[in-house]
């Protein structure tokens, strides 16, 4: 998640440069995959099984990441139009339409290389119904096999033995055999364990980075900056030495800012004074990502925690991939992704983060494309205000459809919200 479509050059950390190189290398590997006889698996971020894919020598492609990259590079509007011309409804998820449009336009990756078609679609049905429809659509286009993993929903915020056993049994009896058939070799559980151990190391460092935001000033922005931080661990790199090195470097970078008492790097360089500490619920808008970020950073608003950065794994509460329990821990990982949690659990998590990170407010970016996130957010807003006494803000936009990002309207709302926080501090009624 390193690229940007900005009118003004954005400041970047060292870790971002490392990540950009990692992603470039991955797309190069994908471009060479056919020539080198490597097989390719398309899969999703939440509930991804990257260690399993990697242990079998397969290369993952993440269509969501391609879509958001297309949004950041100003290409998504054209891709969406292409899909809508082909009969896809204006009402549905724009990630799906962006991906379909990209495929119909030659399947050129965000870095400009051609993406190979999938040898298998690994459909991890975790927290998002649309994933299932997405890969049904892709299967119709690519005519390739699908491995489906149905991950039960955590209604009560509890992983029951029945849920865990169901996911483990699917992994063992269906998903792994299908992956092995594509890979042409058997899964080496020792290699899987090695990768899971690497994942846990990276996860330790990522959590350390998240927790740094408890400090004042926060050395990170856990939403706008956070989406870069989760790039490797949400995509092709969890369970690799590259990811371990990235998160070590990121942690050291953040530790260094802590020592210096500095805030996060923003698109305009280091943040000056930290004036507002916010928790954010919902994905960002990608088509105007840097504009959106600047609406906050230029006002001195820092996001100290966000839920979007937990969709690909929730590590804050102690979960780690465990080489001693490989399939069980993969199952628990899938079950624990943020959007696989019931609404009451999501509210509980946000409430904890508002308190633990000493937030002045919380903000919801409700995106049209994602009902998994969005349905219920207005009730979450009321409930969180009631429980915490902290005021919430609410805006609407979209993931990668620029038609749904009304810059002036959103900027007005953000500024009004921050002014309201000021007024409360001053003791005035908002």
């Amino acid at each position: 998640m390193s690229a940007s479509a900005t009118r003004e050059p954005a400041a970047k950390d060292r870790s971002q440069a490392r990540q950009k190189a990692m992603i470039g290398d991955h797309f190069d590997r994908l471009a060479r995959a056919r020539d080198e006889g490597r097989k390719v698996v398309y899969t999703f971020v939440p509930g991804n099984l990257t260690e399993l894919v990697g242990a079998l020598g397969l290369l993952p492609v993440l269509p969501e990441i391609n879509a958001l990259q297309s949004g950041m590079r100003g290409k998504s509007a054209g891709y969406i139009a292409e899909a809508e011309k082909a009969g896809h409804s204006e009402d549905v998820c724009t990630y799906v339409k962006c991906d379909i449009g990209m495929m119909k336009s030659g399947n050129i990756s965000p870095t400009g290389t051609k993406l190979p078609p999938p040898d298998l679609l690994l459909l991890s049905y975790t927290g998002c119904f649309t994933f299932m429809k997405w890969f049904e659509l892709l299967r119709q286009e690519y005519r390739c096999p699908v491995a489906m993993l149905h991950v039960p929903y955590q209604t009560d915020g509890v992983v029951t033995e029945a849920m865990r056993a169901y996911v483990v049994a699917q992994l063992r009896d269906e998903v792994i055999p299908k992956l092995e058939a594509v890979a042409g070799r058997s899964l080496d559980f020792h290699e899987l364990g090695r990768r899971l151990a690497l994942s846990a190391r990276a996860e330790d460092d990522l959590v350390r980075v998240w927790e740094s935001a408890r400090r004042r000033p926060s050395p990170i922005d856990a939403y706008f900056g956070g989406v870069y931080y989760v790039g490797p661990i949400f995509s092709a790199f969890r369970g690799t030495e590259d990811a371990v090195a990235y998160y070590r470097e990121l942690r050291e970078e953040v530790d260094e800012r802590v020592r210096r008492g500095e805030g996060p790097t923003t698109p305009d360089g280091p943040l000056g004074q930290e004036r507002y500490r916010l928790v954010v619920e919902g994905p960002p808008n990608w088509t105007s990502f840097l504009d959106f970020w600047r609406m906050f950073s230029r006002e001195g608003a820092v996001v100290v925690s966000s839920t979007y950065t937990r969709v690909g794994g929730l590590y804050d509460d102690g979960f780690r991939h465990d080489p001693a329990r490989p399939l069980e821990s993969l199952a628990e990982y899938c079950l624990g992704c943020y959007t696989n949690l019931g609404l009451p659990s999501r509210v509980d998590l946000l409430e904890r983060h508002i308190r633990d990170y000493a937030a002045d407010g919380f903000f919801i970016n409700s995106v049209k494309s994602c009902n998994s996130f969005s349905a219920g957010q207005l009730l979450m807003l009321r409930e969180l205000e009631k429980r915490t006494g902290v005021p919430g803000g609410f805006i609407e936009s979209d993931l990668v459809d620029p038609r749904y990002f009304g810059k002036a309207n959103i900027e007005n709302r953000v500024q009004s919200y921050l002014q309201m926080l000021d007024a409360r501090r001053a003791g005035a009624r908002p």
């Binding site: 082909a86 009969g87 896809h88 409804s89 009402d91 549905v92 998820c93 799906v96 049905y125 998002c128 119904f129 649309t130 299932m132 429809k133 997405w134 049904e136 659509l137 299967r139 119709q140 699908v146 489906m148 149905h150 039960p152 929903y153 209604t155 029945a162 849920m163 169901y166 049994a169 699917q170 009896d173 269906e174 019931g342 609404l343 009451p344 999501r346 509210v347 409700s366 049209k368 009902n371 998994s372 969005s374 349905a375 219920g376 957010q377 207005l378 009730l379 409930e383 609407e396």
Partner: protein, 396 residues
Amino acid sequence: MTTTASAPDPAREILDRCRALVEDRRLGAVRAWKAAHPGRLAIGHMPIYVPRPLFEAMGCLPVGVFGGGDMDIIRGDSYFQSYICHIPRSTLELALAGDLDVLDGMIFPSICDVIRNLGGMWRMLFPDRYSAYLDLPQNFAPGLGGRFYVQELSRIARDLEARGAVPLAPPALLAAIGDENRRRAALAALDAIRREEPWRLRATEAYLASRAGTLVPAAEHAQMLEELGEAVRRRPGRLIDNARVVLVGAFCEQPPLELILTLEKAGCDIVDDDFQLGLRTIEGPIEVAEGEDPLAALARAYLEKGTATACRYIAEGTKGASLVERVRESGADGVVFAAASFCDPALLDQPMLEAALDAAGVPHTSFKFSENAGQFQTIREQAGAFSDAVKLWGAA
């Protein structure tokens, strides 16, 4: 209607009863059932499918909740953004207005992210009332999805028992499955009448007759449908040269009855549909093998005989093949896609189904609706043009 003005319609009384049941948002029939069965539970459920025999076997009345139709929405709208479909708004409106107070619980089956999240909202808004999410399996292997589904059903059975329902016993479940199969047979008989002689039973009438059954026990509904079948066979009818269409996409949020009527007036005989698909989700009878646990049989029926719909993962074969088959079986001239606005499952499915129809040379048209839609002129013109096209030229 196709009956003459002078002859009384033999089906009128039953259809009037069905209409009264469907239009009563305060669920008077459910209140009456509870009064007649003190201590028994009425359990609401959202579309599409819940295994109703499980509830009936435990002495409960499963009650289909299909939103509020064209009722005014005030509070319900304040919980949802503009890009969310309509049924969760009106369902919350009904609940906040007290219209659903007669229900002792609500089941939210896994149909889509909105209905799933509505289940979470329900827990937060009505913490003292029972509600549960029913995670229908998307893996259809008996040892995987089947095993998980039996555990899901057992969990809900335990929940109900803890709230005063009769403990689940195999003989009672067997009897409830028998009632459900009788209902299914009666529905299938009515479906056959619609296919063969659509002037005898219009889609609007079949709709009311089917939906009424989500509010009464299966045996009572079966009786009603059997009587309706006999009554419509006595109707003096006449052949109308309409286009025969299959309607798909309206399996959750329901179109206004006037919209279905509009399609009929525009020259479409709806000979097959997926309105309130729940009662037809299992294709054919639920079979219990000799010595088989009826709960396992109920789960097996879902795995093996589940209708191909947008909410069910189609693991094998070609998407849309079953729709093409339905068109062939019903002798339809074309397909009308009628999805609720912002209905992810239906709208994401539609391009795949259209591709299958195109490959099979089946004409189709599409529009969107909302349960509270009040203007149908555009749809009438579109459906009329489609009907004319398929009748006159064999293609839209």
